[in-house]
């Protein structure tokens, strides 16, 4: 039941991952990877933006160490999500937590953190497993056919729309709104300044800290 609930919550993620996974598979093969290599990257790394940046680095003949270092900084933002999720996932065995940790992406985090209450490990498994299968399968389809997923439908907006829904659901008190507006503004400012997208880590940490400071101020007044 929990597994099924998690899988159902992953449907918007699947819609969003299909076109991106297709594009990654197709671009990977076009860059010179074999089908197996492209699929292996989705299966073992499971982090879209870092995978695309790695492809462009392969294209320019970057050294392995450079690609790995770049990947580290791009994906460092998951540390923040992983820490926040440690409050949201019911305590369970370490091996299972280790497995669930592998499935943390921007999107699975957004759904798990955006939903109220504590999550059963099986819910997380259903959510992440479904997203993972969609990512790997669409990469394979894109790599095998070389085709982009271009049905003319606005599927590429599935993920932003999901983020909008989850963000709006977070707005249960004014301080959260202040934090969100701050984070949005800072991320726009930081866009040009900080390469890759690990500014998410910095911006979100700072904006959340402002939320804590606002709470303090209010308690002092009261």
């Amino acid at each position: 039941m929990q597994l099924y609930r998690g899988a159902a919550d992953a449907v918007p993620i699947v819609l969003g991952y299909l076109p991106i996974g297709f594009a990654f598979g197709a671009l990977g093969v076009a860059t010179g990877l074999s089908i197996l290599q492209a699929v292996a990257m989705s299966a073992f790394v499971f982090a879209g933006s870092a995978q695309f940046i790695a492809l462009s680095m392969f294209g320019t003949g970057a050294a392995p160490a450079a690609v790995v270092t770049g990947t580290f900084f791009i994906n460092l933002r998951h540390l923040l999500m992983s820490t926040a999720l440690s409050r949201k996932v019911m305590a369970t065995s370490r091996p299972l937590l280790g497995l669930l940790a592998f499935g943390i992406t921007d999107e699975t985090f957004a759904v798990a953190a955006g939903r109220r209450g504590q999550h059963h490990p099986l819910y997380m498994l259903g959510l992440e497993g479904t997203a993972y299968l969609a990512w790997v399968a669409s990469t394979a389809a894109g790599a095998a056919t070389g085709a982009r997923f271009t049905a003319g439908w606005g599927l590429e907006f599935a993920l932003p729309a999901m983020f909008i829904a989850l963000l709006v659901a977070q707005m249960v008190e004014w301080r959260r709104a202040v934090v969100a507006v701050l984070a949005a503004l800072m991320s726009l400012l930081g866009q040009g300044l900080i390469p890759g997208n690990w500014d998410v880590l910095l911006v979100a940490s700072l904006a959340a800290a402002v939320g804590v400071v606002l709470e303090r101020g209010q308690r002092d007044v009261a």
């Binding site: 290599q37 820490t83 985090f109 955006g114 599927l155 829904a165 991320s187 959340a208």
Partner: protein, 101 residues
Amino acid sequence: MSPEAFWVTLLGMALVTYLPRALGLVGLSGRALPQTVERWLGYIPAAVLAALLAPALSGEGEADRLLAALPTFLVAVLSRNMALTVVVGILSMTVVKALAG
């Protein structure tokens, strides 16, 4: 890139991606954290969502995304329903693209 170099790179990428993912969830689950840190973590979802969303909607050549975002936000606020919001978002984007193209 030779196949050997590729697989070594892939292994490295997998490792450095997994470590930050595991550190918080495996290392901190079931442990109490200071009150201030707990409060700070309570703001992280809203902050992360906003920090991911803002650049995605406002980049160069993203005018169609900003347009599609308007009805999507409206439906999100009125319905508070994720599935409905995603469907409206996809349809809005489809319409915007059709009108633009």
